[in-house]
Symmetry: C2
Subunit: 346 residues, 2 copies
């Protein structure tokens, strides 16, 4: 049967970086912040072979682990890979945490910059890593990679944004407004707990089924390649199932993070996007999908043009946003791997 991720080991062991009380961009504090991460490969003696791999929306490190492997561009025999879990994703600090001081609507908004700054602390404080070889991610993971490059311009040698942008575009924001409204339409607080989320989670799955691929994907019935017997089975078995695994409060937290993403919305760049993009010194690889409906190629192109060392390589695909995470054996993956190899060789 089909799934969103090429291979996913739910038992994949992670470690917690206890970051303490973290002052957020909003001014609020995330108390006892916990960043869940997993490492693959070995840190070399000069601490110069670190690769940061970041999670997309609704995902955990187990969903991106397949991107790393012997013989792949991000090869653990060569690199020390740190898989980072986004705040709100259920493994790092999240609204769903039992005993958390922050549940549901109390959850303080964590920006991508908040996340990346704690990720940077983890590398420095735990591993003594000052310089990274590559920051890479798909979708919201790509947004994090962009932030790494903009927030730490002298410490990131390369970054790769796969179906990821420097900020959440206005259209992407509106798309997420629909997701959020559908998710919360059936939710209510009962006895101090959130209830009624299941129908909302299914609705989110159905909405993503329309946005996350492309018109041509359905025109050509490409869902058949996933072993689905019908469009309806594709929607239920892939998309509904994907979101039913998740906690609605955590998805809302991540939507907030996504909607507020902007590499220039911080003290360093004060909403001057040109400045933020222009300050990036890392070699960049910007890889939108040609058929992506919400991380639009044109937005990515305009951003990439303003990054001094960026290559712009749209992925030829009818898989829309999903082109960036189809997994091994697909032509999209080979295209991305080729891009990453060239980037890492540069």
């Amino acid at each position: 049967m089909s799934a969103l991720t090429a291979s996913s080991d739910p038992d994949s062991v992670h470690t917690i970086f206890e970051a303490g009380d973290v002052r957020l961009q909003s001014g609020a504090t995330l108390p006892d912040a916990r960043l869940a991460y997993k490492t693959l490969g070995r840190l070399n003696n000069t601490r110069s072979n670190a690769v940061v791999l970041t999670t997309p929306f609704g995902a955990q490190h187990t969903d991106i682990e397949w991107m790393v492997g012997p013989g792949r561009a991000i090869d653990p025999q060569r690199y020390f890979v740190v898989l980072m879990n986004l705040f709100g994703n259920g493994l790092s600090s999240s609204p769903s945490d039992a005993g958390s001081a922050h549940v549901g609507e109390d959850w303080p908004g964590c920006t991508i910059a908040d996340n990346v700054r704690v990720q940077e602390r983890l590398l420095r404080e735990v591993f003594g890593i000052e310089q990274i070889e590559l920051a890479c991610g798909f979708s919201m993971g790509g947004i994090q990679a962009y932030h790494w490059a903009a927030l730490f311009p002298d410490r990131v040698r390369r970054f790769a944004a796969i179906c990821g942008a420097a900020r959440c575009s206005a259209h992407n924001h509106v798309f997420l407004e629909g997701v959020k409204a559908a998710l919360t339409a059936g939710m209510q607080v009962e006895n101090g707990r959130m209830a009624g989320a299941e129908r909302g989670l299914r609705a989110v799955g159905r909405i993503f089924a329309g946005w996350a691929v492309s018109q041509a994907f359905y025109r050509e019935e490409l869902w058949r390649s996933l072993g689905c017997a019908s469009v309806e089975r594709y929607i239920t078995d892939v998309w509904e199932a994907n979101f039913l695994r998740r906690d609605a409060r955590n998805l809302l937290a991540q939507i907030w993070t996504w909607q507020h993403a902007d590499i220039s919305d911080n003290d360093l760049y004060r909403k001057d996007l040109d400045h933020a993009l222009g300050d990036i010194r890392a070699q960049g690889l910007i890889m939108p999908s040609e058929s992506d409906l919400y991380v639009h190629t044109e937005d990515c192109r305009r951003e990439a043009e303003r990054v001094p060392g960026a290559r712009f390589r749209p992925i030829p695909s009818k898989w829309g946003h999903r082109a960036g995470a189809r997994g091994p054996g697909t032509h999209e993956d080979r295209f991305i791997e080729q891009g990453l190899r060239e980037l890492l060789a540069s």
Copy 2:
């Protein structure tokens, strides 16, 4: 302030065609079927100047009346225009009807073919019209125009499908699955009545705000041209307000109709789309919007190529699906008007 329709007179008087018990394609019966219509202009002596104008999703004839006017292509001084309300739109028979035998989930699915066949009866039985000059509509209205041409090939001289297709594409179907899931996520039956629809209606508005325009629409902040002060105001004042006017049960009925739309899914063509398209003898004008995200230009092009007398004229626009209904004074309207004038002169 802005609204979805260029001008809308909620008091515009309509007439009811009592169609009796209508046997539907599904085998079910729509009892005491009522088709609400309004006429503009005068039927000539030879009964040869009739134009049928059909309603899109979530709309009533008051929302399309602006398409007719002195000096416009569809000029009531020349044509006898009949504005037809779709079953389920709140004016023709609908789940919301007080005293209806069919409310909410009992509502029998009415196909586009069911609608068009009753529309044809109205013209024949009330006005003695056997031949129509033009069937025209936007969005689901365009689907109805296509059906007119396919179901009555020897009685329709011309048809125009503005952002409308010969059938609901698979991707369009999936988009509507998201809308439906969001609409129903918060709904429940309380004391035999549907409750909790408001949040769902707002969610539908937010979802449409993402789908019904285009990425470029938001990139270039074209909502400002509607007098909106922000994206959020655009979403609430235009999209939420539009759907809050409507009954959720009626929208569900119309979604069913839309999802099942297919000019070939009937006794005449037995799901042979090539046959249905090839049988059309009317001069056709197929006008998708270049940036439409759910009635995709490519689907429309493939259909138009199989209609013997069709002109394919995509509307150059960044307004996505809304390009087909922007209203007087816009370049999209001028483009459509030009197409209709040429069609009517042919």
